[in-house]
Amino acid sequence: MAYLKTAAILTRIREVLEESAGDLRTVPVGRFSGGLPEGLSETAEEIRALEAPRIETRIASKRPSPASPPVNGNLRIYELTIEVRVIRLVEPLDQLDDESRVALQALASADGDIIAQALNYPGNLTQTAAGAPTDLASGMLVYEGDASSVVGTVDGGAQTLTTVHTLLGHAIARPATS
């Protein structure tokens, strides 16, 4: 019997995004750093983003997959909505200079393709570096899209450009039958 391997799923996603793990289409080294818990103040996020673009992943929602066999079997399939949040610092130069701002927005938008390529590649999410299986179908997620916004005001100093990338995962649980 086994429950959804949510810890392995989140651990592996972090390894792929922050440590450039994976077979192919890996995230460039140093592209993202962790350390982005929910609930930080705007100022705290700006300070963290000053060091490096920050990233955090969570399982936003979960629902039974229409492809799942009936509940009394030894296999259940769930659809997971995974949210990957990336923050980049909008520095005063970016606020004042159009070219700098374009470059920043391009970086933030390109993050989506980098994340999609790494997490969509079959097998990149099959197991953690420690060998723990994730039980994600095909060892991958499906990129669905992103939404971006700037947090903070120019008058308040620096801002953050926050992008939430949404991906779909099919995760397998193996309930007990005896």
Partner: protein
């Protein structure tokens, strides 16, 4: 009175040892079917016949007489591999899906892989043992990027395996060549299937016996949002309810054990459409399809007789042509498909879903003809073309048995 949830169900299947004989006294012989929740529907039909004698009141009708029984069952199963690669030490295995495919397509080859001794090219190589490979079956290799490439076999001569279409790289000595389970069409499959469909209620149990396939539908989703699936429809010579079954099938609803079943999404794969007979690998042969359809026509009909079970003597697969057809929508890149249509070029259509041994399925229409290419807009509004194709017997294997000739195959690798 208890009210139960409909979608809590169990479906079990067995290939009948003796046609039309209820086997429910041996429940261990059945295999649980991992059908999609809520997709199982059953019709239980005793004919009800009007004796038609005259009556003497405007509103009188006649009590009908019960006639022969029949049943119909449909359900959807994910087109899922087994999770067990057929490598040099382990043969291909099968689960419930393989049982269903074998009964209705007729042919099954459970291959075993081997290792490369030497390779003359990316499409021909010598293996340690070729006994697990057959023309029309599959040989697969993991490429330098860690991705499984699945190919159909053109011929096996001694220990030399020759592919219809090359790997992207020449195999190296000691490379593992995986085999797989191949399901193919035979001319006259003789098996019949028996199902037990069960709900939560103790008497909500029915044995459907003497059944064969009357419709099949394939659904694939190259976007990866959905699992690839097969919808099966079976009709049966008869049925027993819970009280009529030879075995005890009442009581608590037992839990199902699904074995050799590992669903994969269709996103992780590729569609190949090379010329038949051209073994040279080219990335140009990969089709960047936004939509893909496969439409097999595997239909059995009743052979009736007064001495049959509810008049059903046996089932016979009928001629339905083309037995396989399909299509895809791809970006418009020129007149290639129109030229192929005009030249009546023989093409092969292979749709591989999955990139890992043990976790891959490939649909194969080994010899097809392009018909009716049309300029369209695809789902995203891009300039595209829809390409329809129709399949025939395999023209690119050196063999004459059903496996080598089959117009449609399902490989589980």
């Amino acid at each position: 009175m208890s009210i139960e949830i409909h979608n809590v169900q169990r479906l079990r299947v067995v290939s009948e040892a003796v046609r039309n004989v209820d086997q429910s006294n041996n429940l261990a012989s059945y295999t649980d079917v991992p059908f999609r929740e809520g997709t199982g529907s059953v019709e239980l039909t005793p004919d009800s016949l009007d004796p038609q004698h005259t009556v003497q009141h405007l509103d009188q009708y006649r009590k009908e007489v019960l006639g022969k029984r029949s049943a119909k069952l449909s359900f959807t199963v994910n087109l899922a591999p087994t999770g067990s690669p057929a490598n040099a030490t382990n043969p291909a295995v099968k689960g419930a899906l393989g049982l269903l495919l074998k009964a209705s397509m007729g042919g099954e080859h459970l291959g075993q892989g081997s290792t490369v001794v030497s390779a003359t090219s990316a499409s021909s190589f010598t293996v340690t043992s070729a006994t697990g490979f057959k023309a029309g079956g599959v040989a697969s290799r993991v490429n330098a990027a860690g991705q499984l490439e699945v190919r159909e076999i053109k011929s096996v001569v001694g220990s030399v395996v020759t592919l219809k279409y090359a790997f992207s790289q020449t195999p190296s000595a000691s490379d593992v060549i995986f085999s797989g389970a191949t399901y193919y069409l035979t001319k006259n499959p003789s098996e019949t299937l028996q199902f037990i469909i069960e709900g939560v209620g103790s008497n909500d149990r029915f044995v459907l016996y003497g059944g064969q396939l009357t419709a099949i539908a394939v659904a694939v989703d190259p976007s990866g949002a959905q699992f690839p699936s097969l919808q099966f429809t079976y009709e049966f010579a008869g049925y027993h309810d819970a009280n009529e079954a030879t075995g005890t099938i009442t009581g608590d609803l037992g839990n199902a054990t699904y074995s050799n079943y590992e669903p994969v999404v269709g996103h992780a794969g590729h569609l190949m459409f090379p010329d038949v007979g051209d073994a040279t690998y080219s990335a140009d042969d990969l089709v960047h399809a936004s939509a893909i359809t496969w439409s097999p026509k595997i239909v059995f009909a009743r052979v009736t007789s007064p001495s049959g079970e509810n008049t059903v003597l046996q089932w016979r697969r009928t001629r339905q042509v083309p037995v396989i057809e399909g299509g895809f929508t791809e970006p418009f890149q020129g007149l290639t498909r129109f030229t192929e249509r005009d030249s009546r070029t023989d093409k092969a259509c292979w749709y591989q879903m999955g990139r890992t041994a043990g976790y891959t399925v490939m649909l194969s229409a080994p010899t097809v003809q392009v018909v009716n290419p049309q300029r369209v807009a695809d789902g995203a509004g891009f300039a595209a073309q829809s390409v329809a194709w129709k399949g025939r017997l395999d023209a690119d294997t050196s063999g004459s048995d059903d496996l080598a000739l089959s117009a449609f195959r399902i490989h589980i690798v």
